[in-house]
Symmetry: C2
Subunit: 350 residues, 2 copies
Amino acid sequence: MASRAKATILDIAREAGVSKSTVSLVLQGSGLIRPETAIKVRKAIEDVGYVYNRGAANLRKAHSNVIGMVINDLTNPFFAELAVGMERVFQAAGIVPFIANTAESAIRQEEVLKSLLEQGVAGLIVSPARGTASGAFRRIETAGVPIVFAMRRLPESRIPVIAPDNHRGAFIATEHLIRKGHRRLAFFGGSSDLVVYQERLGGFLEACETLGIPAADRTIVEGETSRKGGMACLDTALATAEPPTAALCFNDAVAFGVMLALRKRGLEAGADFAVVGFDDVTEAEHYIPALTSVTVDTAGLGERAAHVMLKMIQSRTTRAEDHIGAVSLAVRESCGPDRNARNAGMGDAA
Amino acid sequence: MASRAKATILDIAREAGVSKSTVSLVLQGSGLIRPETAIKVRKAIEDVGYVYNRGAANLRKAHSNVIGMVINDLTNPFFAELAVGMERVFQAAGIVPFIANTAESAIRQEEVLKSLLEQGVAGLIVSPARGTASGAFRRIETAGVPIVFAMRRLPESRIPVIAPDNHRGAFIATEHLIRKGHRRLAFFGGSSDLVVYQERLGGFLEACETLGIPAADRTIVEGETSRKGGMACLDTALATAEPPTAALCFNDAVAFGVMLALRKRGLEAGADFAVVGFDDVTEAEHYIPALTSVTVDTAGLGERAAHVMLKMIQSRTTRAEDHIGAVSLAVRESCGPDRNARNAGMGDAA
DNA sequence: GTCTATAAATGGAACGTTCCAATAAATCAA
DNA sequence: TTGATTTATTGGAACGTTCCATTTATAGAC
């Protein structure tokens, strides 16, 4: 059925009895072409089953309308939501973003970035993988390709970042736990090689400091940012001499893991141990018990990142301002009623 | 910092004091080049900050090493798992697949496919959006681009499909419910414009037929394939004169919704109403109560699809066999103990 | 020494577009 | 009619690669 070699602009020209330039003009929707000619050409395009060769075109015009979106963990619904937010604005701009997953591997990330660059992307939105080397984006910067980081940043990079206010989010969540009457607090999950971790842990520590929780009453357990990691964190923490009564988790996945581990021990989140998550994925409010979590407006940040990218491309700059999104606490069931009211002082001996 | 115009193969040639052909050969790892020359060239490549222009290359060689993955709902963890399975095998083959999301919109899907085609993809793995027109892939077929469907198929298309055995999955799940003693069964969620729906519903109906559940005791409620859809289905079903005591759900998202709605009514999945899901996403076993679900080995199907694609590209064919994956039932808590044992006959009066 | 065989490197055409400068056709003013 | 202006259309060079056919250098056989 299909013709041997794929049709080109010249085949169309021959078919329609015009020159290749005319066809090109029609393809670009130029107003310089007489309507009847345009119709004739469009018909020929249909007839020969033409598909536009963007690679050839880019050779001349060098701006490619492809935007790459590099995501560190596609199976985390949080990032899927981020992606969806971005897509909304790109779609409106007539752009199809290509998503690539790095599965939290710096090596894979390098391959992915290389491939995207070679493809001639117009811009890159990246949530860097854990353990990304500090120079990993040098190549991209010198290539002059606009790039923005979403959700995560690199230690000393000058690349613009779109992210939630992690410090404040952790602060208000911790404050909430303390106001509920908890005196021995934990911070679960994540690892210190992530800037986000430092920000969130920083907020936690500042709240402890400000509201009078001594260092001795803080338990910090690093761990994988997954359900499994959360389960391990709880086990570790409860094995200590003076176990915490509440935990702020690095993200919701960790929090779900903690709640799971609690249930395995016959304890219940809310009643026996307070749990707060971070990111507020859609699942959080449907969980049993519903998870109290720091809302970061994921899709909104995605939209924001996309807008910034569009602006950078349009103004052919490689610089942009950071954007730190507002956060709030969605209070649900997983940290239970006030501890003071229920059994004041229990466990405050230390 | 960055040089004005981006470096090309000629800049490298000048820098290294060789011809452009030599540089090209080095780039392709040809053995015809003297090692010392190759080293010299590679150094020059570094020095000028060269990035390979795959578009230009494809203009000559016309096979592009890009594979597109078109997915209908990225926020469904089920599809994310599918994507991850595919990535595993593509990565091993040194290919970076680009993922694009259609968000279940046929219009968006058309844009996405067009863009991918223009980019010159070597192949396409597609999970078609709901309501895809029957001719939507004609263009791609005539362009001679290999394409396979994953998870979903189109009514009368000849494009190879990689999917689980939906009919059998639904059959064994239904059989399980009947053997547990349920006599009034429901099928929740999905809509008849999806072939998958017809397959799953078909398995449900065949099991009912075979095991003696009369049509009058079957409740079929179509609905969105989401939590929300599942909640609505339960409400509808329980409002009937002779409500069902068990339901097979179109997928896990629907099942989660059903369990949520049960809880809202003070009922519990397992004890008061049996729920079985389909797809067995990782969340299923962590849910409370853990969801009984039809396991389809999502990641495995993803790998399979990727392998088939690779083979098609390699043998430059556009045809391949369908692959129907084996399924099994992961029995967990959401359909409770045997109904016969617990309170035999209750509700069997009708 | 020359002659052949092999190894290494090269020039040039081609790929499918875009876009500039140029041409051809149509319209208008005088 | 002639020239000037506007409207439509067109040829050709350029974009950055690959790859074929050559050329040049190196080595081996006589």
